[in-house]
């Protein structure tokens, strides 16, 4: 990773954060990039939404709980 992480690199890290704990330098890269980039902040929100949406999709309410 270069000194200033790009949106592409940051998006990969945000996605991988759903799979494994990020290392300290990786967290630092997010810390540097995210406050400056609305696109990546939106992407982070969207990742959480997508994960929740898959659960909700299979769990639609035509079944007893």
């Amino acid at each position: 990773m270069s000194f200033i992480p790009s949106c592409k690199e940051v998006s990969e890290l945000l996605s991988q954060a759903q799979e494994r704990p990020l290392t300290f330098p990786e967290k630092f890269a997010l810390h540097v990039h995210l406050p400056l980039c609305k696109g990546c902040r939106n992407f982070r929100e969207q990742l959480g939404f997508i994960r929740a949406a898959v659960r909700r999709y299979i769990d639609q309410d035509d079944t007893p709980r």
Binding site: S6, C7, K8, E9, S11, E12, S15, Q16, Q18, E19, R20, K38, G39, C40, N42, F43, E45, Q46, L47, F49, I50, R51, A52, A53, V54, R55, R56, Y57, I58, D59, Q60, D62, T63, P64, R65
Partner: protein, 199 residues
């Protein structure tokens, strides 16, 4: 569970009619993973049969739904195992990691910026109540290439870990991450284009 299951079923063991109520849910679950109506119906049928035969094994500790989902997961994993033996993700002729990487690259400019900057989706959870949203969601999920979708749903539907997915499919963790990332990017792009960008 102490006694013989045919003579001493626990009182709460659900009967066939009670189990049938879950068919729609089980089918959606299986279909999202398998993307094949026939195969999905088969695993759901096997699941309901196993549940009817094994009703005595229902402990009542979890809900009927959780119990059925557990059985279905095993049936689906068996199916995916057979499928990946018959159509391996790693065909000799293509390099999935490379083609996945290229698909991700296409969404970014040469300097690493987003080609389409992700927009603010506002309060997206409100869409959960909208039937039309789920039609779009279903359509977008189907747009994913089959292999990408297989990995994505193993992670998000079956809730397997990356390690388990790698083991089942014989791919590396890096490859798995790239495929998951691609799946999420493609779903994101499609939802923004077809739903969140529209309102």
């Amino acid at each position: 569970m102490t006694a013989n299951k045919t003579t001493n079923r626990s009182a709460e063991a659900p009967d066939q009619a009670a189990l049938e109520q879950f068919r729609g849910y089980l089918l959606r679950y299986a279909l999202l993973q398998l993307r094949d109506q026939g195969a999905a119906e088969d695993v759901v049928q096997e699941t309901l049969l196993a549940a009817i035969e094994g009703g005595g094994r229902f402990s009542g500790k979890s809900s009927v739904k959780t119990w059925l989902t557990g059985i279905l997961k095993h049936k689906i994993i068996d199916h995916v195992r057979r499928q990946s033996r018959e159509q391996p993700l790693m065909a000799e002729s293509d390099d999935p990691e490379r083609s996945e990487t290229e698909a991700v690259d296409a969404l970014f400019a040469a300097d690493g910026h987003w080609r389409n900057f992700p927009a603010n989706w506002g309060d997206p959870d409100r869409s959960f109540e909208n039937k039309k949203f789920w039609e779009v969601f279903e359509m977008c999920a189907k747009l994913m290439p089959a292999k990408t979708a297989r990995v994505f749903t193993m992670r998000e539907v079956l809730e397997l870990s990356t390690e388990e997915i790698c083991k089942e499919l014989g791919i590396t963790a890096t490859n798995c991450w790239v495929m998951l990332h691609r799946a999420r990017l493609s779903l994101r792009e499609c939802l923004e284009l077809k739903w969140f960008g529209q309102s």
